[in-house]
Amino acid sequence: MDEEPERAKRWEGGYERTWEVLKEDESGSLKATVEEILYQSKRKRVIESHGQVRLGMMRHLYVVIDCSRSMEDQDLKPNRLTSTLKLMEAFVDEYFDQNPISQVGIITTKNKRAEKLTDLAVQMYCVCVCLCCFTASPGNPKKHITALMKAVDTVCVGEPSLYNSLNLAIQTLKHMPGHTSREILIILSSLTTCDPANIYELIKTLKSLKVRVSVIGLSAEVRVCTVLTRETGGSYHVILDESHFKELLMLHIKPPPASSSSECSLIRMGFPQHTIASVTDQDAKPSFSMSHLDSSSGPGLSLGGYFCPQCHATYTELPVECKVCGLTLVSAPHLARSFHHLFPLQAFIESPVENLQGDRFCQACQAELKDKSVFSCPSCHSVFCVECDLFIHESLHCCPCCIYRQTAP
């Protein structure tokens, strides 16, 4: 994909047989490798995401991290837990970047119990040093990240409990308003679960509450997870290696399509202007940021900030729910950032390389087109290689050639 991930050193890797990867269908195509199938599905994902679907943009996501004994397995370096937490940090960052009006909470499960590491609503009121410009990350995931960093030292013992963790997540999720998308993402390393009651009953409850449960397995396919995800409409993936793990995790950053049965409602939102008052200004009155009231740290008193258009409470950062009048305060760029999910770039047309006239160079990376097929933009007809096609669709979200034509005369 975009960059070849930092692979573990050869000697650090497990017992692998590299020659078997090379053994690709010498007898026709009887032994299509799993890699081939994976590649196809990767392409498919790009194509699939281009329907005009309603997306659940306001997400309430609980991430359940398995901290059982099996997390100490060293097949991910240095061990599964550290590796997972590291990826989670990146995930949380990226998640808030792409879903600014969403929330996340983290649950860990070990020793047959489940406990909350961070709560769902935390993001809105998190303590942070505010950087007063729009480009910086507004929904600051710092609290999650510190919690995750701390969790590295936890001892992994016992078995996980799917039932308990799902139950814990439900307790909070069921109070969330109906128009938001309720999700649980489970990162499961263990192959067993120790449940106090019949989990199939719980699955029914989840289904009726419209909670989507997705699972990323770290070792192998477990039946109960297959049923769980199938019933609740989530996805179930098992990692192959670290880079694949990352890829799978990043899949969950995109907002899922909202189910047609979920409620629709209009939400009142406020778009507060940021006012910067200099100390010399006589009219300026210092005020306490409302988000700092319940915290012990950080500077509380400041001159400028975001003022709620309804009640004029001050906030140092957005997005936030006004503590006084309950209005959701966001800034326009936040909404804009979710825009590409709703109006994605059209899929490029795949065609065999033989049909291509003229130069066989990719318009983006300028490399020679060597693969069997090339991809062309339906509006400007520029030709790209498969790598660039994926990059454009997954990261850029706009065709560089179209942009260039628009700006250039």
């Binding site: 497990g14 017992y15 692998e16 047989r17 078997e20 026709g28 195509s29 009887l30 032994k31 299509a32 799993v34 199938i37 994976l38 196809q40 599905s41 004994r69 099996s70 097949d75 078995e159 799917l162 192959l191 067993t192 679960t193 120790c194 449940d195 019949n198 989990i199 199939y200 397995g217 070792s219 192998a220 396919e221 477990v222 039946r223 109960v224 997870c225 297959t226 993936h237 098992v238 990692i239 192959l240």
Partner: protein, 760 residues
Amino acid sequence: MKLNIEGLLVYFPYDYIYPEQYSYMLELKRTLDAKGHGVLEMPSGTGKTISLLSLIVAYQRAFPLEVTKLIYCSRTVPEIEKVVEELRKLMEFYTKETGESNNFLALALSSRKNLCIHPEVSSLRFGKEVDGKCHSLTASYIRAQHHSNPNLPVCRFYEEFDSVGRQVPLPAGIYNLDDLKAFGRRKGWCPYYLARYSILHANIVVYSYHYLLDPKIADLVSKELAKKSVVVFDEAHNIDNVCIDSMSVNITRRTLDRCQNNVDTLQNTIHKIKETDAAKLREEYRRLVEGLKEANVARETDIYLANPVLPDEILQEAVPGSIRTAEHFVGFMRRFLEYLKSRLRVQHVVQESAPQFLKDIFDKVCIDRKPLRFCAERLQSLLRTLEIADIADFSAVTLISNFATLVSTYSQGFTIIIEPFEDRTPTIANPVLHFSCMDPSIAIKPVFQRFQSVVITSGTLSPLDIYPRILDFRPVTMASFTMTLARTCLCPLIVGRGNDQVALSSKFETREDFAVIRNYGNLLLEMSAIVPDGIVAFFTSYVYMENIVASWYEQGILENIQRNKLIFIETQDAAETSMALEKYQEACENGRGAILLSVARGKVSEGIDFVHHYGRAVLMFGVPYVYTQSRILKARLEYLRDQFQIRENDFLTFDAMRHAAQCVGRAIRGKTDYGLMIFADKRYARADKRGKLPRWIQEHINDGSLNLTVDEAVQLSKHFLRQMAQPFRQEDQLGLSLLTLEQLESEEMLQKITQIAHQT
């Protein structure tokens, strides 16, 4: 879809077809064309049944005079039901495609226990009770008595069937057991007798092996089936054992005691009848003088299937004078019984051939060979004459008389072994007389001779050439089919060493070795940590399993395993085992994960399928050789060597490997399924063992996975399981292992299909 198989139009009820199914049908058609027998091996889960049915039904429709009937033999009732369901699907497809309802009659037949609708009789629990009770309500003389004395109970369903049921044939359609029962209830007819009567004109009959192979039952049920039939034995990898079991007799003291009672009852009844109705006995005597001519006529005109218990020569002769009258016969049986009792009073093991036995019996109690041969037939006649209703009570004397007939008829192929005690309990006297059949071809010979085509098929028949040899027939086609796969969904690994390089083996010398047991435990422990849901582990015998499990318990291995998964154990008790199995499946379903410890050749290894999560890995601890010290086995091996030139070792290995293949084959039940197959014994790596595995397993064993250590196996398994957990959809299979009609007809694919069948 509609297929063209070498000019034959075959309707196939699915939109997609596996390449091997097409290839299988090709071979099957060639077998039918040649009017010969065939041996076909195709992995389970690749749609063997539907391929068989589609082709043969198409053949029947195209050449109604060449093939009149399909007799499909399966092992268990659920399997029979499955076949009927597939057939129903096929027939619905026919109706849809051709637009006309076809007049095919297909039905399943099972025992009275499964078909009876009489309120009292059907509530009985055991098959024998049901049979006996049924007989006491439907026997001809009971019914005759009923006319004079209406208070005597009879079965109204049978009466109804007898009066009208025979004139009106069963309407065309597909009937499984429940359908037959429902039909019977509606009409008030006995479904069992209706089914037995209807199989004579049905196009397709689905029933158990025993109706064709067991001489006692075959004589009643199958002897009038048309010669131009195709007989299919499904899951036939154990067919030789079924044949042998159906011909063998075991006599214990208990049998003799019960037989004694039977003879006494007979004596009394004769006595009574003599006073009341002497004419009846005289009539019987007259009939016996004329001999078994009727039976002979029937056989000559080739209406009946030959009965191996009733050999040809007997039919030529009349019943000898010494047992013609009823009293003489009872006296004769008494003498024979006393002789057997004296034989069972031995202190050491005796093994002798049938001629030796006959000579001995002549010397000791002056019983000639000739009257012995008529024993079975004479007893049947007597029971009929005496109008004894409840035949179930007379099973002991029937058994003894069958034994008498068999022992005096066959001088070869049988052996008599008298053991004073069991090997495991040498102190407890429990004498057994084994009259054991060593030649499976005796029981199956009439089938091969009578029917036009006999097809033997199963998922594991390798090596194919041994079956024609031990069953003594000449097949026109022998083929083994592989499974075409879009992804390699099976992963056979041979683990030959522990992590400490100790060779793993269940062979006798190292069986008690501490290091081997520990390493086996280690293997299971490591596997339990990486394989999701269910693992099935097979041991070579119950004794071996008990030893190992006890040892694991002492070493604390069991405790460690239980942290990962629950453990269930198969025992010799059927109820306990089915309970364990149920809980095992529940644990797999709930994500707790479970291990089932069971035994090769046990109930679990044969009939139970572990689809998907119920069996993600199968471990085979050791090579499941049969218990070689058994005298019966030794005699059989000797016989095989002398008669069929099969070396002992070849047969033993063949037998062990077919059971191993059966065990590991439990895990893969289709193309979307996946599973690990772990052979934990270094002997599997040898070419002579490996070469006897079915081809579809063999081709996935590469040289790299021959002699792995536990660690290496764990690494490979981990990788395999992750690969298999990747999403796999139907589209991925299309064109490779799943074909549409267009894809099938492409030149390139037809080329490839020819390579699937592996002729031997």
